[in-house]
């Protein structure tokens, strides 16, 4: 018996088992999550992912759409505009939510994967600059905000406030709000500008993180979508040019372009939308869906 065993070649068996193990491991790793979603099977679930700015709005739409079209289910996740774009490029979502325009390199990456993103403007948003309620500063110009965030101004006393250090709060770099703020406030729309956030800017992973810190810390300054501003923080009036007057962010000032830090919110589809996705987007641009936009503190795209 012992002789019989020795005649087997144990090393070959071990090798085979090890190979089988590693093969199953690599197979598990290389399966793209999107292949299941984009396979031919007619699915009635619309995958919707991206900007955290829009996530509450997208959830409200998805919920309301259940009443309109019970057969279609919209599954909404956040994670930031960059996350949604990465998912769109990798083909794992039907609709990507974005709080900024698609970047040229994202478009070319998508096209390299055989996907041509199509853009829809679904709402408008103002970015509010917020401070602690006890902070005596009530208004700032775009230049002052840029100086604060690039690190040129370090103390609230330089802005007419108390003698306190300034703690700068921002969303993470995968947030469309971050990129918009960099381009439109720090760089004032100048494509040649190389202004950057001061390295000691706190990059917080969520809007709630920013609101929580501003609510608690009198040194803090933060920015966030108007829809996320809670009543327990102080919103600053902002002016592009102080001689033209300061404006608080409201639906009126955003639509009249008086408030300078406002932007469009987008949804991108992988190619021209069809059937359920097209119906959903048409519904989003209709009046009942746009009413939800103003209920959540955003600005409707149709007056």
């Amino acid at each position: 018996m012992a002789i019989a065993m020795r005649q087997h070649r144990p090393h070959a068996v071990e090798l085979l088992l090890a190979l089988a193990l590693s093969a199953s491991l690599t197979a598990a790793c290389s399966t793209e999550p999107g292949q299941a979603a984009s396979s031919g099977r007619p699915s009635r679930t619309i995958e919707n992912k991206g900007s955290d700015t829009i996530v509450n709005l997208a959830l409200a739409w998805a919920e309301a759409y259940q009443q309109v079209q019970p057969a279609v289910q919209v599954s909404v996740t956040g994670g930031g505009t960059g996350t949604g774009m990465a998912a769109l490029i990798n083909g794992t979502v039907d609709i990507a939510n974005a709080s900024r325009r698609i970047k040229p390199e994202e478009r070319s990456a998508a096209e390299a994967n055989g996907i041509s993103p199509v853009e829809f403007v679904v709402a408008r948003d103002a970015i509010a600059v917020i401070v602690h309620p006890d902070n005596p500063v009530d208004r700032l110009t775009i230049d002052q905000i840029a100086a604060v965030y690039t690190g040129a101004i370090d103390n609230w006393a330089q802005l007419g406030g108390q003698d306190r250090p300034i703690v700068r709060l921002s969303r993470e770099t995968n947030s469309g709000t971050h990129v918009y703020f960099l381009e439109q406030v720090l760089r004032k729309g100048d494509l040649e500008s190389e202004a950057l956030f001061s390295p000691d800017t706190l990059l917080l992973p969520s809007s709630e993180g920013i609101t929580a810190e501003v609510r608690d810390n009198p040194n803090a300054i933060g920015y966030d979508g108007l829809g996320y501003v809670t009543p327990d923080v102080k919103v600053l009036a902002v002016a592009l040019d102080p001689s033209l007057g300061y404006a608080y962010p409201t639906i009126q000032t955003v639509n009249s372009l008086e408030y300078p830090i406002a932007r469009e919110l987008y949804m991108y589809t992988a190619g021209e939308p069809e059937s359920e996705v097209l119906e959903y987007l048409n519904w989003i641009l209709s009046d009942p869906a746009q009413v939800i936009v103003s209920q959540l503190g955003f600005v409707p795209v149709r007056r």
């Binding site: 790793c29 930031g80 250090p165 993470e172 770099t173 990129v179 390295p199 706190l202 810190e213 608690d216």
Partner: protein, 297 residues
């Protein structure tokens, strides 16, 4: 008879393959990290990679501030966790009465199972605001908050391993010390603890490994500002660790981009650090054992 031999043969092989597979998995993971991370060394110029600015969306890929952030938080956490962890282990193993010990040990193990996101939540709501008020810091979201919480995370690991090591010290050592007239403190400090030294050092090393790999808590409470640490005051300022950077940015990157490779390069760095910690721990244990054997022979 033949059937039994076959089963035994298969079981023996299966166990052997399982043993090898651990090595295989580590090699596969390291190979994957290297494959995805090494292009960054070519795509990113060394001046950028060794710079002090991490801002990947504008092609600033300096990983030194992230490395520094991890080091600052880990050192801080060890300053908290090692003394507390070892003294707790000594109390449980050497001092406490049996009844207390039977409650304490499972409780420490429960602490080990606490999800780190809960600790992070606690940090944001309670610890960070209190530290800001107490120490008059610009913000409570700092390396210190992270270090205190991570120290807490490391304690169960350190206690559990160190307590086992102390427990394994033969009873005769303590009896001999007592017989020579040593006090209880002298016995613990001069006899039991040195005898269990290799196990206690392993506990510390495992604690460090646990802390440097921790992600969720540090991402929530350290403020994530990629500032290059300089001097002692860095402990009281926001930092960004390597783990938090990978976690925060991995979701955003397009597969195969420079940023993607840079994040994997950080992963390789983390892997090498924990490999080094484990090798040091293994070397320490090995050296101790040979010395003990020499003494006993």
């Amino acid at each position: 008879m033949r059937g039994v031999a076959w089963t035994e043969f298969l079981i023996t092989r299966w166990i052997r393959v399982s043993g090898y597979s651990a090595i295989l998995f580590v090699l596969l993971i390291f190979g994957f990290l290297l494959r995805e991370g090494s292009p960054a060394l070519i795509q990113i110029p060394p001046s950028s990679l060794l710079g002090v600015r991490w801002y990947p969306i504008e092609d600033h890929f300096g990983i030194l501030p992230l490395l520094g952030g991890s080091v600052v938080v880990t050192i801080g956490a060890m300053l908290v966790g090692v003394p507390l962890g070892i003294t707790t282990a000594i109390y449980i193993a050497e001092v406490s009465p049996r009844s207390v010990r039977e409650i304490l040990k499972p409780l420490v193990e429960v602490l080990a199972g606490l999800p780190s996101v809960m600790l992070g939540f606690l940090g944001i709501i309670l610890l960070a605001p209190s530290l800001r008020r107490l120490l008059d810091l610009p913000t409570g979201l700092s390396a210190l908050t992270g270090a205190l919480l991570l120290g807490g995370i490391a304690i169960p690991t350190i206690v559990s391993v160190a307590e086992d090591a102390l427990d394994a010290v033969p009873r005769t050592y303590r009896e001999a010390a007592m017989a020579l007239g040593a006090t209880r403190w002298q016995t613990i400090w001069r006899v039991t603890l040195p005898a269990a030294r290799s196990g206690v050092l392993t506990a510390v090393m495992l604690g460090i490994a646990r802390v440097i790999g921790e992600t969720m808590t540090v991402m929530m409470v350290t403020g994530n500002a990629p500032v290059m640490p300089s001097g002692l005051q860095s402990l009281f300022r926001p930092v960004r660790t390597m783990t938090a950077t990978i976690a925060a940015e991995m979701g955003e990157v397009a597969n195969g981009s420079v940023h993607y490779h840079a994040l994997f390069l950080i992963g390789v760095t983390l892997f090498l650090i924990s490999l080094a910690i484990n090798l040091i721990a293994a070397a320490v244990v090995f050296r101790q054992r040979t010395r003990a054997e020499r003494v006993l022979s």
